[in-house]
Amino acid sequence: MEVLDILARLLVWLVLAPLLPGIINKVKAWVACRQGPPVLQLYFDLARLWSKGVVMSTMASPGFLIAPAVAWVAVVAAAMLMPLGRAGCIFSFDGDVLLLVYLLALARFSTAWGAMETGSAFEGMGAAREVSFAVLAEIGIITAILTLALESGSISLASMFTPPPGPGAALLAVGLFIILLAENCRVPFDDPNTHLELTMIHEVMVLDHSGPPFALILHGAAVKMMLFSALLVQAVLPLAHMPLGLSLAAMAGGIVLVVVAVGLVESLTARLAFRRVPLLLTIGFLFCLFPLLLTWMEGVL
């Protein structure tokens, strides 16, 4: 039973995740009155990449191929820790939320390592930006986790998500949304579409990857997107208290809503100048800090 449960969850994460970039692209196309690529485009891309060969830089070590695989394992492992509404987690322990954050950090380390393999200045630039801005994003995430921990009195993901309705939840949603945009390299932090390397963060890190490792990178990015959306939805809606069917439906609806919002932001705003990125991340941190202070005030009074 346990094994079936694990497999079912794995399937949900691995199979559904590539839908999200498709939805984002559809929303963007819809706003621009274009037809746009089909929602399932990423699946086709992944299948095509999987059957292709790999072109590897002459400078790169075998680590260049291993790094995307390790990063993918880390992201998927982090996703498996995430509870799914009323369905809960496969297993949980006190402090697993920290493991989740640090698994994402492990993925970042691997990706940046892979980027440095090629000796290209572009990829070095991308890696430097990624790890630098991640510092500020990490502050926001830890603050959000502190908020959730104080609200629920628990540091285990299974019982952390008991958000009380109120202004705190709304503020936290905005804060987490900003962090989601930054961590998933979306506009206004990064532009997943641009081909001008100097303005990119994540895309420029994976310039030299190709074939199956690149498929792993794309798929990992989709899983990460779904992971952050699930985190955001559960941090705001009390899904754990709903009946199973309703909570899963609400979760799916919430995740779709989040990615539609990402698509809208992407269509309606431009990418920020790099100097402004820390500023917006700080704003995201403040949006996570205020609910913490609100919880604190309620707790002390």
Binding site: G53, V54, S57, L65, V70, D94, W113, A121, I139, A149
Partner: protein, 603 residues
């Protein structure tokens, strides 16, 4: 001792310095002795190939002498239960460390580093002299032991904090640390960073356990811990010298240890709730962890230095090709020090984090302090990750930036073996953390009678299992990818945006990699940049060099030192050899003294 045997003590029949030599071994001493023996053994093996007689005929024999003297001194410090002998051991280890740091005395940089170390170390020793002397004066004997009930002894803790804090390299007392670690031979750097700093931590642990602590001691430790952690890694990011960078990471990790121990001390005043035991366990475990991975990293840096002759990261690059073992082991150490799962660094940071988060739910003054502390710990982790992607990427990956880097060679099996041993230690603690809980609980008991349950928290078992699963899956994914792609890889040049003549010098450098973060910390790093900007439409020469100074040393210690020297110069004007003036000074002194005597007699 760590497996639960009762403590051992020995008292000599003869007198040394007027008191019998007393040795005491309890779990706290044993905990640090295990680290000392592990790192010293690895270092001794490493040094056979790293510093052999054939290449260093003059310094290798004396190096061995001082190496052993230093280990003996540290061993004596760890077991001494007598203030006098503690100081003897302390001085023995401090002085032999000086001779080890300055083995290559021909180089003026090394001499300066050694001198700075000696001076700083003696400021610390002075504080410790004052500490032990006043302790002996108040208790009437040099004997050491638990005396928590004697509340009058509490203020002495601050003297001990100063003395041990300088040795441990707590910010801002770390001024000696970067240059000494950078200029010492690498096996010495490993011993200095992996163990010698921990002797300072041992002192703090020992005397915060044996003596009553003043109120606020825990807060000061935790506060300085946070400062050390964040600023240590910020300074590390600004460095271009591989070993200097690692040295600053020691400041960071000592900060993390102090964070755990500081909050544990705060918890001690509140009868140590559960979160306090977690913070204590994390702080203590980080002592071992840092000893293991930092020695591993210094050995790796030593292998690079041995193979290329330079510590400058901007002259390295592409070393994985010739040094795959060193590159792999150094990366393992980097993952561990950045606190990433599934290695040991994450386990201790996770324990501290868990302690802090749980403390946050108490809704009291502690809770208010742990929230910023947890955020700062997160910042430290993210900055360390940034720093080590920079180091690994710039040193081992990409293309070689200089001829020596192109001709590098892998280190011998002796050096590799030493690194493998430490790497195995890092992995073992990472994958099976619960095995070490009982050791920690015994140390906690001998530290200050903290009653930690002998069974590890369930979460730690689960974390260990998750780590094992993660390691297996990660390995499988890596091996599987290589196997899956074995016939499908084609080699080609790096995509360079159509540029036709790429050069290795076009790669991103260590300085540019850390540029963004350095800018955020410019207020304390005070980096100096010398640049010749390109001019006109066809620029010929352009140059940019940046340097991050040791701000505390150059902007605080040195100006103050110069002021004192200038004052001393002025005072020396009084001493000029004219007998008449000396007689005049005597008369004035007698007059002042008699006036004082009369005035005080009247009142």
């Amino acid at each position: 001792m760590l497996t639960g045997q009762p403590g051992w003590s020995w008292k000599s029949d003869f007198l040394l310095g007027g008191t019998p030599l007393t040795l005491l071994l309890d779990a706290v001493s044993a905990f640090f002795l295990v680290l000392l023996s592990t790192v010293a053994a690895a270092g001794s093996i490493y040094a056979i190939r790293y510093w052999p007689d054939s290449t260093h005929p003059r310094t290798a024999p004396s190096g061995r002498l001082w190496w052993n003297a230093m280990i003996t001194g540290m061993g004596l410090v760890l077991t001494a239960a007598n203030g006098l002998h503690f100081l003897l051991g302390w001085e023995l280890f401090a002085v032999s460390a000086y001779f080890l740091v300055s083995l290559e005395r021909g180089n003026p940089q090394v001499r300066a580093a050694g001198w700075l170390y000696l001076a700083a170390s003696h400021v610390g020793t002075l504080a410790l002299f004052a500490f032990f002397a006043s302790l002996a004066a108040q208790t009437g004997s040099w004997e050491l032991g638990p005396m928590r009930d004697n509340v009058e002894l509490a203020p002495l803790f601050w003297l001990a904090f100063l003395g041990f804090g300088i040795k441990a390299g707590v910010f801002p007392l770390h001024v000696w640390l970067p240059s000494a670690h950078a200029n010492a031979p690498s096996h010495v750097s490993a011993l200095l960073s992996g163990v010698a700093l921990k002797i300072g931590i041992y002192g703090l642990v020992r005397f915060s356990g044996w003596l009553p602590t003043p109120p606020g001691a825990g807060w000061v430790m935790a506060g300085l811990g946070c400062t050390s952690a964040v600023l240590g890694v910020a300074f590390a990011l600004g460095q271009h010298d591989l070993k200097r960078l690692l040295a600053y990471h020691s400041v960071e990790n000592i900060g993390i240890i102090l964070m755990g121990l500081g909050f544990a001390t705060v918890a001690l005043e509140r009868d140590t709730p559960y979160w306090g035991t977690l913070a204590l366990a994390g702080g203590l475990l980080h002592v071992w962890n840092h000893g293991l991975f930092k020695s591993l990293l210094f050995f790796g840096a030593g292998a690079v230095l041995h193979a290329t002759g330079t510590r400058q990261m901007s002259r390295l690059g592409g070393l994985w090709r010739h040094m795959p073992w060193t590159a792999a082991l150094f990366t393992l150490g980097s993952v561990a020090i950045s606190g990433l799962p599934p290695l040991n660094g994450f386990v201790s940071e996770w324990l501290i984090y868990s302690g802090l988060l749980l403390a946050g739910m108490e809704w009291n003054d502690v809770a208010m302090a742990v929230i910023p502390a947890a955020v700062l710990l997160a910042v430290t982790g993210a900055l360390a990750l940034a720093c080590f992607t920079k180091v690994c990427g710039v040193v081992f990956l990409g293309a070689p930036r200089s001829a020596p880097a192109e001709r590098a060679h892998e280190c011998g099996w002796g050096m590799r073996g030493a690194m493998l041993m430490l790497a195995a230690g890092c992995t073992l603690i990472g994958l099976f953390p619960a095995m070490f809980w009982q050791v920690l609980s015994r140390v906690a008991k001998d530290w200050s009678a903290v009653d930690m349950s002998s069974r590890a928290p369930d979460a730690l078992y689960t974390l260990g299992l998750t780590h094992v699963a993660l390691a297996v899956l990660g390995l499988a994914a890596g091996v599987g990818t290589i196997w899956f792609l074995r016939n499908r890889v084609r080699r080609s040049v790096t995509w360079d945006c159509g540029f036709s003549a790429p050069s290795a010098r076009m790669q991103y450098t260590a300085g540019s990699f850390a540029g963004i973060i350095n800018e955020w910390f410019a207020w304390i790093l005070r980096p100096t940049v010398h640049e010749i900007r390109p001019t006109t439409f066809f620029p010929s020469a352009a140059q940019c060099a940046s340097h991050t100074p040791e701000t505390v040393l150059e902007h605080v210690v040195e100006p103050v030192g110069h002021k004192i020297l200038r004052l001393a110069d002025k005072a020396s004007g009084f001493q000029h050899g004219r007998v008449q003036s000396y007689i005049f000074y005597l008369c004035v002194a007698i007059l002042v003294l008699s006036a004082a005597a009369i005035l005080s007699g009247r009142s």
